[in-house]
């Protein structure tokens, strides 16, 4: 059984919600990134999302844009991101989702991607600019591999399409909480609640909320609405803002602990 499925099953049986943590691969550099990712897994993260840096991250806000640029500057790439995931996998059993824009995947070669991510111990691929209509070739390449293609739904997604997305989802459905790019704050909890309920009602898979979740308060308010929360920019920002000599893994772990507390404090 895929580690993502195992994890959600286990969490459900203990009535807990998943904390999905996004971090950009190679931010601020390969070795530090590896230490941060491993520490994150030991600090209460249920699913690890490793972001492949891309030159033109049109779905991302400034925090992840800058992180991508930082990582690319140190020579990070798609192949090195797979290597990083493999290194994380050596130490932990946490499910790993590789997040990417489509072009690096397409350029690397779909069959090669499928083979190498499976060998690296990656459990899911999330391709942010690849809607199901264009995902045929990648889906075919992933056949026979124990790697889910994670799908996204948005606040603008119409009901009949939500049903289509939900049924085709693998692992979990990534429900975007708000309009805009990643890292934009100011969530309207009531809006999110309404949308999440509608999606949960038709989705046979776990539903996780992402975009704009950054505080303990967000975590507490939103955790009851879904099966998990995805936090990205709030973690990446810590890396960007830390002083040069800071213990980055510890800082990220502290933030994860706060979010975890918020989620677990929910009724």
């Amino acid at each position: 059984m895929n580690r993502i499925d195992q994890t959600f099953k286990k969490l459900a049986s203990s009535n807990r919600k998943a904390l999905v943590a996004y971090l950009t691969a190679g931010d601020p550099d390969f070795d530090t990134s590896l230490r941060i990712l491993r520490t994150a897994c030991a600090s209460g993260v249920d699913v690890l999302e490793i972001g492949v840096p891309f030159s033109d991250p049109t779905c991302d806000g400034p925090v992840i844009q800058v992180a991508s640029a930082r990582a690319l500057k140190t020579g990070m790439s798609f192949s090195k991101s797979i290597r990083l995931a493999a290194e994380v996998r050596k130490a932990v059993e946490t499910p790993i989702v590789l997040f990417s824009y489509y072009n690096p995947i397409f350029k690397y070669g779909l069959d090669r991607v499928a083979k190498e991510v499976a060998e690296a111990g990656v459990d899911g691929l999330l391709v942010v600019d690849l809607p199901p209509e264009e995902a045929g070739p990648l889906t075919d390449a992933l056949k026979g591999k124990d790697v889910h293609l994670i799908r996204l739904a948005a606040p603008t997604t119409k009901p009949e399409r939500i049903r289509m997305l939900a049924n085709g989802a693998g692992g979990f459905l990534y429900l975007i909480t708000r309009l805009g790019v990643t890292g934009t704050g100011g969530l309207d909890y009531a809006d999110v609640a309404k949308h999440a309920a509608a999606v949960k009602a038709v989705c046979p898979h776990p539903v996780c909320l992402g975009f704009g979740i950054s505080t303990c308060e967000d975590a507490r308010a939103l955790a009851p609405l879904a099966d998990g929360l995805i936090v990205g920019s709030a973690l990446v920002r810590i890396i960007a803002q830390a002083p040069a000599d800071a213990d980055l893994p510890a800082l990220v772990a502290t933030k994860i602990g706060e979010l975890r507390d918020g989620m677990d404090a929910c009724p």
């Binding site: 049109t58 690319l72 790439s77 397409f106 350029k107 690397y108 997604t157 309009l179 790019v181």
Partner: protein, 403 residues
């Protein structure tokens, strides 16, 4: 040459031009693109909409633009006769207005009160600001900070027209980054904002919609050639950045026995890293919503484009061009900065026309072809815009290169 039955066959129902095109965007934009597609499909079949579009092309944009025989230039070059499709004569000084009138009318029909646009040379930004003023819509134009510097006169024009120009500092500060930022803004404001994309690129339905709005260039040219010259051109030439003037010119001729040449910006040369020739020097991939030819490295990171011309300084190209290249229907070739500037000077001196630097690439390619062809051949080249906006930039270039 395969000249049969290309026209009308692409894109397919899902917006693919063969392998290219499609809709590679985040889920949030899917609904907006579906709505846009539905609205466009209804509008283009609505005689009242089409009549409104035609009327504005005539009375506002000043169409038809002339088809002009460049007699002195042709004699100077000594070879095939060169004809100019004078898009520089259109209102706002470039072909960009054709597309923007159409999309502006569509935005109004869809009840959108705000439009946004990306711009490189500033021509599309000016055209969008123009139509926003005309229709009383709010307008934001995203422009790379490098281009804000290179195209200062157009920035002033946009501001005069009431648009807000937003300098984009992310990435390389050029057209690609302006489009990234426009997409990011759109995804946040998608419910009340219409994104007017300026070229035959982006996610479906933009490439086909912009082509259909720009085909007036080719439709007029075809009629004018038959009326004025008595035959179709042997060769059509247009510059290709995103490729909207080229697609507009080429499309109506696709099933005719005419050769076609797309002039890409070869910058300092195709053998250098400093060029913007996505087809001649790139490889397939996805950017800004479409599968197409891109400048990219082996790991799929998009590379910086480089051209003296801000309007061609883009690492991608419209997906229909990618298909026409693969089909062998259109030949794409690079024109260097220097060749473009030399052609620019020739048109100024021999015809009294100051072309845009973008159009000068097409002109250089046309001259290059004319030299090798007999006098009974006709070459039609699209002068996609006027060059007033480029004067400072080009003067500096000529000085630096002793031209």
């Amino acid at each position: 040459m395969n000249t049969k039955q290309i026209k009308g066959h692409y894109p397919d129902a899902t917006g693919h031009f063969g392998f290219y095109g499609g809709r590679y965007v985040g889920e949030t934009l899917i609904a907006a693109l579906t709505d846009l597609e539905t609205a466009w499909n209804a509008a283009k079949e609505d005689p009242a909409f089409i009549a409104g579009f035609r009327s504005m092309l005539t009375n506002y944009a000043g169409r038809p633009t002339p088809l002009d025989f460049a007699e002195r230039l042709s004699n100077h070059v000594g070879g095939a006769r060169i004809y100019l499709k004078r898009e520089d004569c259109a209102h706002t000084g470039a072909h960009k207005i054709n597309n923007v009138i159409g999309q502006g009318l569509l935005a109004r029909r869809m009840g959108k009160r705000h439009v946004i646009a990306e711009t490189g040379a500033g021509q599309h930004g000016v055209a969008t600001a123009t139509i926003a003023a005309r229709f009383g819509m709010g307008c934001k134009v995203f422009m790379g900070e490098e281009d804000v510097r290179r195209q200062a006169p157009n920035v002033l024009r946009m501001k005069l027209l009431g648009a807000e120009v937003i300098p984009v500092t992310s990435g390389t500060g050029t057209l690609k980054d302006a489009m990234n930022e426009a997409l990011r803004y759109w995804v946040a404001e998608v419910e009340n904002t219409f994104y007017i994309i300026g070229t035959v690129s982006g996610p479906h339905p933009y490439p086909v919609m912009v082509r259909d709005l720009q085909r007036v260039i080719g439709d007029e040219s075809r009629r004018q050639m038959l009326e004025q010259v008595g035959k179709l051109p042997d060769l059509l030439v247009a510059c290709v950045g995103g490729g909207s003037n080229a697609m507009g010119l080429f499309y109506p001729f696709l099933d005719d026995p005419c050769e076609m040449l797309g002039a890409e910006a070869a910058g300092e040369g195709l053998n250098t890293p400093h060029h913007a020739a996505s087809i001649t020097g790139g490889a397939p991939g996805t950017l800004h919503g479409a599968m197409t030819y891109l400048l990219q490295n082996d790991e799929g990171q998009i590379q910086e484009a480089w051209s003296i011309s801000a309007g061609l300084d883009y690492p991608g190209v419209g997906p229909e061009h990618a298909l026409l290249h693969d089909l062998g229907r259109v030949r794409y070739d690079g024109v260097t900065d220097r060749e473009a500037v030399e052609a620019f000077k020739l048109l100024c001196r021999f015809e009294g026309i100051i072309p845009a630097l973008e159009s000068s690439h097409a002109l250089a390619a046309a001259i290059n072809e004319a030299v090798r062809r007999p006098k009974d051949q006709a070459i039609l080249v699209c002068i996609s815009g006027r060059g007033d906006k480029d004067l400072d930039h080009i003067t500096a270039y000529m000085k630096a290169h002793n031209l």
